[in-house]
Symmetry: C2
Subunit: 265 residues, 2 copies
Amino acid sequence: MSAPLILISNDDGIQSPGLRALCEALLPLGEVVVMAPEVERSAVGHAITISDPLRVTEVDLKLDGVTAYACSGTPADCVKLAVLSILPQRPDLVVSGINHGSNTGVNVIYSGTVSAATEGAILGIPSLAVSLDYRGSGNLEPSKIIARRIAAGVLETGLPTGTLLNVNIPDLPAEQLPPGWQEGHGYDLTVHGKSDWQDHFDRRVDPQDRVYYWLTGQRREIEEESNTDEETLKAGRVSITPLHFDLTDHRAREALASWELFKPA
Amino acid sequence: MSAPLILISNDDGIQSPGLRALCEALLPLGEVVVMAPEVERSAVGHAITISDPLRVTEVDLKLDGVTAYACSGTPADCVKLAVLSILPQRPDLVVSGINHGSNTGVNVIYSGTVSAATEGAILGIPSLAVSLDYRGSGNLEPSKIIARRIAAGVLETGLPTGTLLNVNIPDLPAEQLPPGWQEGHGYDLTVHGKSDWQDHFDRRVDPQDRVYYWLTGQRREIEEESNTDEETLKAGRVSITPLHFDLTDHRAREALASWELFKPA
């Protein structure tokens, strides 16, 4: 059997240290091809480009054995284009990251990093997103080991169709990470939490006296469940949340069933 | 009690006929304010703008009683900015649409129309997205009545926190719509389906001999469940799907629980 083909993308752009670290981490597992946005594309959600052409440029990342392309599109575009048009065969795994900053709670909805993995899952390929909860040190070495352990597990076992894994890693020195992290044990199987942002817009005036608005905000924790992504990360543990893109709110369906709107005519 | 305040947005842009139709439809229910993208922003998913300023311009839609603003951002930006900075008070309802084309199956993930309603739900406001499965005639009159009926129902009953409604309306002459549609009965409470796109990229060469790629594809129906959004729409019925943005794949959680990665160290 030939080595697995691993597609790597991100939303921080082709030149990001996290992307480089992810390549180094996964090279021992198979053949690595990168297709990443040519510039940073954070908070683009699951945007795809339909009204403009996409451009692709080969980039030399100076990493032996890695072929890399920069794309003018979004993270979801990168994965779609690589899988459908660029790669010689269907990849065995899509990995997005390592993102500079966590992707938990409502951030998951806005995240370009997660959207690259979502696109992989939509295409039926086992996919994961990896984010480091950057808080200053940003040492990527532990994250590389953790990402490799999880990727190896997914390559071995596969994932249910339509499921992707959202991995969040605390920014801690190796000795403060939970026991077993280097051997690939003791990670937490979490749920997607509800922590969000207390957003507001700065109203400012430009040099031409025109008003503009700039989004800003503080993280807010609203956790009704235990075992959430954000809570696990804050406890200094590695969070792995299985996500899907079936958005049906089944609980609400029951509540709504008695509405007039759904009465037979 | 004062009239409800209704915020309208979309992804087809401030000048779209569907937006105008929605304003006309909802004016009898309360005060209507529009904040919509200044240009078309389809397939932007839940993108928000964090690295650029947002601009807002008041626009005269020539509709008595409607205040309207065009925004330089995405649909999600429009709703966030209107609620947090522009509106005099918190709206009672956010309605996005009427979209030119259905938003069912995997399209829901890419949809800017749905993302405007998702942003409303994230902000804790009852929200709905309305799309017409445009197939030629595009007569918006039945959709106006249906949108008003559903909006009135939501204003009266509210929605569970975190739930939004995704409404899809077939493009049929009035007499072919299901019985009761004018009175607000006989709509279908559906689930988010799995129909997707058989995507491919056209590889082309520009006048400067540089390669570019353009996304194209055909709709593909993959329905494992009955009662899906797409199937209901194709049967000529009005589909209302309650969606949420808790993305946890609970079924996968059970399957993954026995993985080595989650064993205690």
